[in-house]
Symmetry: C2
Subunit: 340 residues, 2 copies
């Protein structure tokens, strides 16, 4: 009975991920390290996972895409970009939904470790604070790329947009439009992209010298919503009916802007007269809303394409240019009537 | 070397699907037929597909969902309903997109015949006129349920909405609102649901006695669009700029209503003053559009749930009530400002 990956890594004083990649002949690992790992593996009688090794020999011609939700135009457009590349490569894309549920995400990652797919594209849930299941998935050696909602501690390639800059620009846009009390709406405090957007917001608030007017209530302008539209409706309504309501809303997620519109409609609050709204959004109806919605639009389709391209480079085990690691694409601010 | 399924079926003078179901001990087949099939299979040395038979013994705990597009709120809501049931059953849902492309649908169905999944939920593409690939899939014996966009010739359970009635009601709603020249927009002439909605439209036009005024141009009011929004934009624009433009638009698909709004915006045509619009739609922003969009809303979430429930009944090989075959759910007409 030989050792497993963990025991082999401990003996070598290397991480399991380095050992796994060395055994899979990854270009990321030096020739010397690969040699050392192989020799120790032979010496200790290391038993590789039969699935993982059959995977490298016989391609399943499928990749998995794990995303937190589907009723979000960012993801639907990204999927179309991913599918375009996969189709060219003759691959099937299996889409798994984690439904913003950490337990579901864990179940999916466990399922994927059985080695049914040649590679994995993933955007994590808003609950993903513990990451052992992602570490375990990464350690199987199956090529893994994070896009948009990444897991920072895992050392694989991440495709994101300029979330800090976009948060800064969106907030500055509201300040320039005359807003004094700007609320920031998010679905999670845990998400890396939400933190970056929030940091952009905070720095813009400081730079715009709104800090004196909002300092006492600054924290209460940062509003963490939930996952149900009903719950979010009540949270936003309560805030808009408070003594010092915001005169600007920056929604870091599309669905929170849609819910804000519903709340304003029902309360008879005029957008943009009484409250201005800007949102991260790829909503196809943004220009058709009453009033048309100012958006920070992510290059979702291209982000999907780029993520898939990088994943296939990994699957084909080609060396990657260093500058392709951790790609950051630019979003676009599109001013419309909701911030006039 | 034994016979295959086709040869066995020919010898028995039964369809391959009946033989397949008999061999899989389906409750749909009589005990006598099962006995006759098994005896002939033994006699001729029938060799079952190893995948299909391992499938019945060892569940993969996954179901496949094959849909034509993802940027459509009907499907995103249906997916959520399907996932709710699958999660309760401890199943993973693999989503495959056919992108309205018959070749892609064929590739996916071929892939699914390898027996990776315990059951399949499917909505066909707008191009699906030849159906041999679906017949082949059905004949593997993997439980198969069609929902919304069905394949009529295959004798499995179909979950639909009341498309004829809804088409009739939508058209009558426009007639009651004063429309004299009502255009019907569709993405395909091949789709069963599109034909049913169109028949409802045609009968309502007759009942509303619009026939005399529109008879010469009746055909040109039935407009078949394509799959790209750009192409559809040009088709709708051309029709609205014609000598006798429609004063009412009935979009049988959500995205055609959104494109119609864009065209009207750009041409400066007032909705509902100059042209009234009604659409099949599950758009979450329908009430927020300028003007709010009158919709025929399908019970998408419940349709997803129902489809998954029926599929799991088949997977678990439980007898089904006869009345649960071919379930038809009701859609709702929600009048808003676009038809005022």
């Amino acid at each position: 009975m030989g050792v497993n990956l963990k025991q082999l890594a401990a003996e070598l004083q290397l991480s399991t991920s380095t050992v796994s990649r060395a055994l899979h002949d990854s270009h990321e690992i030096s020739i010397d390290t690969k040699k050392r790992v192989r020799e120790m593996a032979d010496k200790l009688g290391y038993q590789p996972n039969p699935y993982a090794s059959s995977l490298r020999k016989q391609k399943s011609k499928t990749i998995a895409l794990v995303i937190p939700e589907i009723d979000n135009n960012f993801f639907t457009l990204a999927i179309n970009g991913i599918e375009e590349i996969a189709q060219k490569k003759g691959y099937h894309v299996l889409i798994y939904l984690s439904h913003e549920d950490l337990q579901k995400e864990k179940a999916v990652t466990k399922h994927l470790q059985s080695g049914r797919v040649d590679g994995i594209l993933m955007s994590v849930t808003s609950q993903t604070e513990e990451v052992q299941h992602l570490v375990d998935l990464y350690n199987t050696g199956i090529p893994l790329v994070f896009f948009d909602r990444t897991c920072e501690v895992i050392d694989t390639i991440k495709i994101t947009t300029d979330d800090y800059d976009s948060g800064y620009k969106a907030t500055t846009h509201l300040i320039d439009a005359g807003c004094k009390r700007i609320a920031y709406l998010q679905v999670s405090e845990a998400l890396s992209i939400s933190r970056k957007r929030l940091n952009g917001y905070k720095d813009a608030i400081k730079a715009g010298r709104l800090i004196d007017e909002t300092i006492s209530g600054e924290e209460e302008l940062i509003i963490t919503c939930g996952n149900s539209n009903e719950e979010n409706y009540e949270i936003i309504k309560t805030r808009l009916l408070a003594k010092h309501p915001p005169d600007g809303i920056f929604a870091s997620v599309e669905k929170l802007a849609v819910t804000s519109y519903y709340v304003c409609n029902h309360l008879g609050l005029n957008i943009p007269e009484q409250v201005k709204v800007i949102s991260f959004s790829n909503l196809s109806t943004a220009p058709l809303l009453a009033p048309s919605l100012t958006t920070i639009t992510q290059p979702a389709f291209n982000m999907g394409k780029k993520s898939a391209e990088v994943l296939f480079t990994m699957i084909e085990n080609k060396p990657m240019q260093d500058e392709t690691q951790n790609i950051m694409l630019k979003s676009t601010l599109i001013p419309r009537n909701s911030t006039k």
